[in-house]
């Protein structure tokens, strides 16, 4: 006995700091819960897969929207105004007006299409050639195609649109790319829908992880009771389950990334073929590093939240009998 007491007196000098003990303990618990998952590889994998699919779905749709935006964004830059002039305006005055508009700072280029030229084009392309020949006079006006300068904003576009429309010579201004703006509006709705869908799927992940952890708690009920009997706090008993949730979330997030990247890989061939057909160099926009990190981060957060939520409810209930 004297010997052991002596050893006790020496021990404090070698004792590690509480922080180091806390850290070491967490490391061993995290590895322990990882080991527990690996002991049931199939069921663990199924849960991770469910989480991965649930995370990958909104991420993939988000990526599609992002690509659609970037493609339509390049159309947006080619935004032109067609200014239809009054029909009684003589051609030389119309040309002079075109040169005048071209001098504006917010205008890059003005192309003049005469009424005769427009009718010629229409005859050629519409297939109504013979019918159009029956017309007593040309129903088409002279047209100015106004290309805005490169540095335009949507506010400056609206101003230009308005000022062109207010010219006394103008009959009607048509924005050729209004459908692009409508398309953007649709994409915005899709984005909102994704946000709502993603929130619902997030709840689904919390429920899935929560239920898995609940089963785990039931299976280890005896162990929880015994450790509580020996003086373990709720926090102590919860820790391994929180780590389990963390691992589910982390692996689910990583696998979601893998699924999205695999999908991108599968699409690469067809997109390259399409780009070849259009002789353009369209490439798929992939996920940015932040987006990839966000998927993993969301996975981990939902995993932790699901297990935290479940353990908070069940740990209190399990008391030694």
């Amino acid at each position: 006995m004297a010997l052991t007491r002596n050893a006790d007196a020496v021990a404090p000098a070698r004792r590690s700091s509480p922080l180091a003990i806390w850290f070491a303990r967490h490391m061993s618990i995290s590895i322990g819960s990882l080991g527990r998952l690996s002991r049931h590889p199939f069921s663990s994998l199924m849960i991770i897969l469910v989480i991965a699919v649930t995370l990958a779905l909104p991420a993939a749709i988000n990526l599609i929207v992002k690509n659609a935006r970037s493609i339509s964004g390049s159309w947006d830059n080619a935004l032109d105004f067609s200014v239809f002039l009054k029909r009684d305006l003589p051609e030389d005055e119309a040309r002079a007006l075109g040169r005048l508009i071209e001098q504006r700072a917010d205008v890059d280029l003005v192309a003049f299409i005469s009424a005769a030229q427009a009718l010629g084009d229409f005859k050629e392309h519409s297939g109504f050639g013979a019918a159009l020949d029956q017309l007593p006079d040309n129903p088409l006006p002279h047209t100015l195609v106004v290309s805005p300068s490169a540095g335009h904003t949507s506010a400056s576009m609206i101003l230009l649109h308005e000022e062109l429309g207010n010219l006394p010579e103008t009959e009607y201004v048509q924005v050729d790319t209004q459908w692009v703006q409508r398309f953007h509006a649709i994409l915005d709705i899709v984005r909102q829908a994704i946000a709502i869908g993603a929130a619902l799927l997030g709840i689904a992940i919390v429920v899935i992880i929560g239920n898995t952890i609940r089963l785990d708690i039931e299976n280890r009920r005896n162990e929880i009771e015994v450790t509580k009997l020996i003086g373990a706090s709720n926090a102590f008993v919860r820790r391994p389950f929180l780590w389990t949730g963390f691992w589910y979330g982390l692996f689910g997030g990583l696998m979601a990334l893998a699924l999205v990247y695999y999908g991108l890989y599968l699409l690469q061939g067809p997109v390259a073929r399409l780009a070849g057909l259009y002789q353009s160099n369209i490439a798929i926009a992939t996920m940015s590093l932040q987006e990839a990190a966000a998927i993993i981060g969301i996975g981990v957060f939902l995993g932790l939240f699901g297990s935290w939520f479940t353990t908070a409810r069940h740990m209190r209930r399990i008391e030694p009998r």
């Binding site: 052991t4 021990a11 590690s16 180091a20 806390w22 509580k228 020996i230 102590f236 008391e319």
Partner: protein
């Protein structure tokens, strides 16, 4: 060390497990609680371990009134007491040494210090050579000794045991009691519930006999009081 003042435990059905029990156990005592099953032995230990709270009356352990221990503080309270159970309550998914280390891990003791204390505790119950074995590969007596090592590893001042020899044959029972005796000799207070009267008589310790949740009146005393 332990004082009960008029402690009563009534269950929801109205049945009383303890009825106004008062008793006192001093520091350094080794006391047995005897009585038939249902006499209130287990309930008494459960009140001391704060697994249950008395319906009325006081339970004071080492100067702490258990009814003032908040729910949140129960784990810390339990860590001061070593507990031994009839069914050992070992965790069968981990080796003997990890079972014994559990109270130290809960208390946040560092790895090196914990393993030293675990070896010391296993040495005291004579199982140092089996520290890496799984509990299910041990005999009932050995498993109970692992349970005892776990109860004493953090050196509690009080050890309570509920039928520690209930599943053991006489030789093993005596061995377990001798281990308890040794702890008592170094100052640990022990409260042991048992119905093995012949064994208790051999040890010559104080006996608290319970009957229907009260202290049993000794027959001789009954006769004395008649006169």
């Amino acid at each position: 060390m332990i004082q009960l003042e008029n402690a009563t435990k009534r269950f929801p059905g109205g049945q009383e497990a303890l009825s106004g029990l008062s008793l006192s156990i001093d520091k350094g005592e080794m006391v047995f609680v005897t009585g038939h099953s249902g006499a209130g032995k287990s309930t008494l230990l459960r009140l001391i371990a704060l697994i249950e709270r008395p319906t009325s009356g006081q339970v004071i352990v080492d100067g702490q009134n258990t009814s003032r221990v908040k729910r949140r503080k129960i784990p810390a309270y339990r860590r001061q007491i070593g507990m031994v159970f009839q069914d050992h309550k070992l965790l069968y998914d981990r080796p003997v040494a990890d079972n014994v280390a559990l109270p130290l891990i809960i208390a946040g003791v560092g790895h090196r210090e914990a393993s030293r204390k675990v070896r010391a505790a296993l040495d005291q119950v004579g199982l140092l050579h089996k520290e890496k074995r799984r509990p299910e590969t041990l005999s009932a007596g050995e498993q109970q000794r692992v349970g005892i090592a776990r109860a004493i590893v953090s050196r509690p001042k009080l050890l309570i045991a509920d039928e520690p020899t209930g599943n053991l044959d006489p030789d093993l029972s005596l061995e377990v009691m001798r281990i308890f005796r040794r702890f008592n000799e170094v100052g640990v207070t022990l409260l042991i519930a048992s119905h093995d009267i012949s064994l208790i008589d051999r040890l010559g310790c104080r006996r608290i006999a319970l009957e229907d949740g009260r202290l049993q009146q000794e027959p001789e005393e009954d006769v004395e009081s008649w006169r």
